[in-house]
Symmetry: C2
Subunit: 455 residues, 2 copies
Amino acid sequence: MPFMPPTDSMFLLAETREHPMHVGGLQLFVPPDGAGPEFARELVEGFRHNDEVSPLFRKRPADPVGLLGTTWWTQDDVIDFDYHVRHSAVPQPGRIRELLQLTSRWHSSLLDRHRPLWEAHVVEGLADGRIAVYSKVHHSMVDGVSAIRLMQKSLSFDPDATDCVPPWLLKSSRSGGGGRRLDPFGLVRGAAGVAGDVAGLVPTSLKIANEVIRDGDITLPRAPRTMLNVPVGGARRFAAQSWEIDRIQRVAKSSATTLNDVVLAMVSGALRDYLLEQNALPDDPMTAMVPVSLALRAGDSDSGGNSVGAIIVNLATDRENGSTRLEEIAYSSKQAKRILGDLSPTQILALSAAQVLPLAFGPVPGYVKYAHPPFNVIVSNVPGPKEEMYFNGARLDGMYPVSIALDGQAINITLTSRKGFLDFGIIGCRRSVPSLQRLLLHLETALAELEQSWG
Amino acid sequence: MPFMPPTDSMFLLAETREHPMHVGGLQLFVPPDGAGPEFARELVEGFRHNDEVSPLFRKRPADPVGLLGTTWWTQDDVIDFDYHVRHSAVPQPGRIRELLQLTSRWHSSLLDRHRPLWEAHVVEGLADGRIAVYSKVHHSMVDGVSAIRLMQKSLSFDPDATDCVPPWLLKSSRSGGGGRRLDPFGLVRGAAGVAGDVAGLVPTSLKIANEVIRDGDITLPRAPRTMLNVPVGGARRFAAQSWEIDRIQRVAKSSATTLNDVVLAMVSGALRDYLLEQNALPDDPMTAMVPVSLALRAGDSDSGGNSVGAIIVNLATDRENGSTRLEEIAYSSKQAKRILGDLSPTQILALSAAQVLPLAFGPVPGYVKYAHPPFNVIVSNVPGPKEEMYFNGARLDGMYPVSIALDGQAINITLTSRKGFLDFGIIGCRRSVPSLQRLLLHLETALAELEQSWG
């Protein structure tokens, strides 16, 4: 049995009923012309009847209890497909709202550690005839970005292709190993790799980060305490919606900012409106942690690099005017990236890890309650396909990342792109974040306001 | 905040991802004449729109993590009904099989300890037009028998009654306190009450039990090791089916045995056939633990007493002939009850607790693997209503208990009665007990065989 590196097992150890450590995705598909009411069931059968499961999706912890800090990976020869691949239905009236409620529930429950740590639901019953696929996989097996990439890999650009297979049947999946780490939780993992082991992670990262900060004269934006930075419960809410990339790109061009700046300005406006409704807007500006690719140093902001860092951006939520917020965000983001540009990859990783590290103290009693949060919200943008994609003739019509809520980080916003659209997925702690879906409304309001100035 | 007695908190402490400690029930209803496709949704709305939630269903542990061994109960003023009452749908083709798959999944996931420990699903989409209600509640709040009683209390004998409310809106629910404890896990709890505290439970019970056994010249039937007596995983399978009481009663009368004896003979035949299929039938006869009401001492086997004991019955699975098995079961059961008849209530409780106690050692590493099981399977029969019952005009057409699988007890069979039928619910560990639903087939085969001799 292969030894499980601490960079994997830390995600199993950190997991409790209150903190599931799996990442998920909700995909929407338009069935091909002529598909009958049996389409979802046939999809389920197709997902199940194949024994060529890739090694990654056969992996499970050898010791499911795993309280001892180390454990081993083992491989299951026989996969219980009826367990892993589930046929589900949304109740009437079959709106996206009902689908999001189901997704919230599925994402709230822990994976069974006695079998490979993944599940997929094929969902029928949407009134508009679309089919949804919700899948989840444990973060100890694969990080969020790799999970999204795997989902993409299972699709085809060819609408007539009939040889598409789900992610677990893909031939060679390098995921779960090294490689790209836009994933915020992967940062901690990546930094652990730098330091050699988990025990060395904290001092090494802090030492390097300290040097960087001292030498570079850096001051990190300080995050105020908010209702989003509290210990989380065991239930989740999930909200998701798509926005046309053209709208966002138009604002970015007119305002001479980037697509990511406009996305952050939408998030800023939405959080501001939401917190005003909750009578909970802090006086000081909130900040976002944004994972960025190291390729940024070469000025290429779209392609993933070999590793990633994180920047902390001032969201300027204290400003009333949307354009002012966008300006401050663009400035703060540029500053943060400039700093990264002066550093070596190892320094970037260390600095980024130092910024993320306070997350690791979440489970310490009282820490989240009394310490200032390192940032207020995590916003990740994972590049997706630029063309229409299909799964055996069914057209991909939405791909919403479902990430992780943590103590101190009660919501997480992750988005991914596909042809013409940005798909936002917002996961939140059900107890701490009431009416999470109102953030969708406010995201639209914030974009509309920016369009009035820059559209 | 009221202190949580160890007899409650032990069920929270014993709980892990592998051992959910909630009990459930799956009810089937035939909608009233003229009910439209909106019936399930209206039911959900009716379940949700009421703030008169009884104190029992407002209770939650004040300290959800609760690793310290003691915690407190607290009360939630605001109930998040959208969380607790869920609208769900079975996928096509909408058979009972799909419903049981959903039930298996729901029963596998842990309740959220940050809110009152219960959930209910109203399920539409069955092809036959029936509506299902699956509900679950944590064993620290209410034991299995009380849960079933609560479900009954929410029903009416009057098909025209329109004032039925779900269990959580019932005015005075005494459940969760003292009272009837046919529930096997309640035995441990009850015995803890006798001993005064959990620390004193083991020595006191064993002392009394030892005296009883020595004075009474009792030998408890020894259970062989079987594939059903292994550590369990975190996923479940649920199987359920109804049998006509008349058929079972007819065999009991002709064979001069009891209804419970015939039920145990069905279980015995089913387990024998199932284990033969799995090449896993032990040479020695298997045994069942059967909770019995103390009222048995007064010869009344149907009405619940004030407290319960447990008997261990020889299932005679080594015998090929069904009638022979029934004879041996009836003899063993009579012997066990005769012993109880000679004891004081406290002695019965202590003896029963001593029989159940090995279950408490389940979490000790290696215990289940190396020790002989105290018995092979738990079979509980919870008396239900003798007349047709309705919920606001919808006729109850099935009420299947969904119990708990434990380390060492990979299946649990619990049944309840209603007018004309016995409803069997079999919960099993998904990993240890493949093809659990075949037990339903074998239960029918076993009854049919008995009918040939005694029908």
